[in-house]
């Protein structure tokens, strides 16, 4: 519910929200941003999964879009280091090679 409110704030600049409520939402976004930016290259997929969950649609062991667990409209595109073995299955120990800045997008669930 709160996530949906935040989403509309960002997209629609919801002027009808009271200043106090707006301040709460802004603070929540700030906290979320700090939380999301705590995931850095070199960390593992297991670390990522604490804050994010894989989005629907296609992905591979080396490329996947993840959505923030607290608000699935917040997304990051994550690339993992190429596996040394040929297995295509995602592994918790896979190392993050790069992670995009968070961005907003409608859901992908195929």
């Amino acid at each position: 519910m709160r996530c949906a409110g935040v989403f509309f704030i960002v997209l629609l600049l919801a002027a009808w929200i009271s200043p106090a409520s707006r301040s709460d939402h802004v603070r929540w976004v700030e906290e979320s941003l700090r939380s999301m930016q705590s995931i850095q290259p070199g960390m593992t997929r297991a670390d990522l999964n604490k804050l994010f969950v894989a989005e629907g649609g296609i992905g591979s062991r080396t490329e996947r879009v993840y959505v923030y667990r607290k608000c699935p409209y917040f997304k990051v595109r994550v690339e993992f280091e190429a596996p040394t073995s040929g297995a295509a299955q995602e592994q918790p120990a896979d190392t993050i090679a790069s992670i995009s800045k968070p961005y907003l997008e409608w859901p992908v669930n195929d």
Binding site: A54, G57, I58, G59, E63, Y73, W106, P107, N109, D110
Partner: protein, 317 residues
């Protein structure tokens, strides 16, 4: 003795001639002919390098040879070309090439120290690369031109082939999970990277609304990006696909029979070949159908179906 200084000051010899040449033979003698005692350690060999007179305080370190090496980059089609120089003190230095040229720029183009491969047909090609560097060249520590050559192999233009479904499973919570695999027309998945190939999907939902709102009730109050277009690097040779309930998994009452169908194509795109930079269909159209239907006992169930595989929530809470 500073020969450059002799030239600049136009100092005449015993016959009144000045030193004009920058190469040739120079004869030295003292005022007393053979009875004069002259000693010198070194003559500077060029007019540009006459800042130094006499022996160097330390033995000179200079380059005896160099060679070219290719270093991979994030782009599998691009390499950085480095020059490795071997020095007399045993050290080896690596620096990006500063004057690189290609023997065939349509197959291997050069930009600075980077060379990018451009597969063009069904064959591999060897392309020569050459480099010219100015290095410290001899024991007088002056600069000279050093040339180095190497070759790079441009692989054949590759495209994905043998795309096939390898599994499907009900992951629970309404998630229908698929895995797919493919190969390379050259037999080497890495060649798909050099050919800049992607494998992806294009999924469209009914109508033109973006996002497409799921009919709710009875479906969760979800929506889908319409169309959904995703492309992945093709070099891994596999992907997974999840058709799931997101963000909400909560079905909305009152329940009633309802369904909607999305249409999916799997496709690839490569930067070379007959269909360069154009999407080519691999599989599709495939129907992804989500439905809510009533059981004989009056309860309702959710089913998502594709390619004769399905995931179910039965009964709906």
């Amino acid at each position: 003795m500073n020969l450059k200084q002799l030239q600049q000051d136009a100092v005449p010899d015993k016959n009144g001639h000045i030193l004009a040449a920058t190469s040739g033979t120079l004869a030295l003698s003292g005022n007393h002919g053979i009875h004069s005692k002259l000693s010198f350690d070194k003559l500077v060999h060029s007019s540009e390098a006459t800042e130094y007179i006499g022996l160097l305080p330390n033995p000179c370190n200079y380059v005896t040879g160099n060679g070219l090496f290719l270093l991979s980059t994030d782009d599998p089609a691009t390499y950085e070309v480095d020059v490795e120089a071997d020095w007399t003190d045993g050290s080896i230095t690596d620096d990006p090439s500063s004057d690189l040229s290609s023997g065939n720029s349509s197959l291997a183009s050069v930009s600075g120290s980077l060379v990018t491969l451009h597969p063009s047909d069904g064959s591999s090609h060897s392309v020569g690369l050459s480099d010219m560097e100015v290095e410290t060249s001899c024991d007088i520590c002056s600069g000279d031109d050093f040339f180095a050559n190497t070759s790079v192999t441009v692989p054949p233009c590759a495209i994905p082939n043998n795309f096939q479904q390898t599994s499907c499973s009900d992951q629970g919570s309404g998630d229908l999970h698929f895995t797919y695999s493919w190969g390379s027309s050259t037999g080497q998945l890495a060649d798909l990277g050099v050919s800049h190939c992607t494998v992806g999907e294009n999924v469209t939902y009914p109508g033109t609304a973006n996002p497409f709102p799921w009919p709710s009730p009875p479906f969760p109050n979800d929506s889908s990006t319409n169309p959904t277009v995703i492309d992945l690097n093709a070099t891994l040779g596999g992907l997974q696909d999840d058709h799931l309930l997101a963000p909400s998994t909560t079905f909305v009452k009152p329940y009633s029979a309802s369904s909607f169908t999305a249409t999916q194509f799997y496709r690839y795109k490569c930067a070379c070949g007959a269909n360069a930079n154009t999407y080519v269909n691999l599989v599709g159209p495939l129907s992804i159908t989500r439905s809510v239907s009533q059981n004989s006992n009056g309860s309702f169930k959710f089913t998502v179906t594709k390619s004769s595989c399905s995931a179910t929530i039965n009964p709906l809470p």
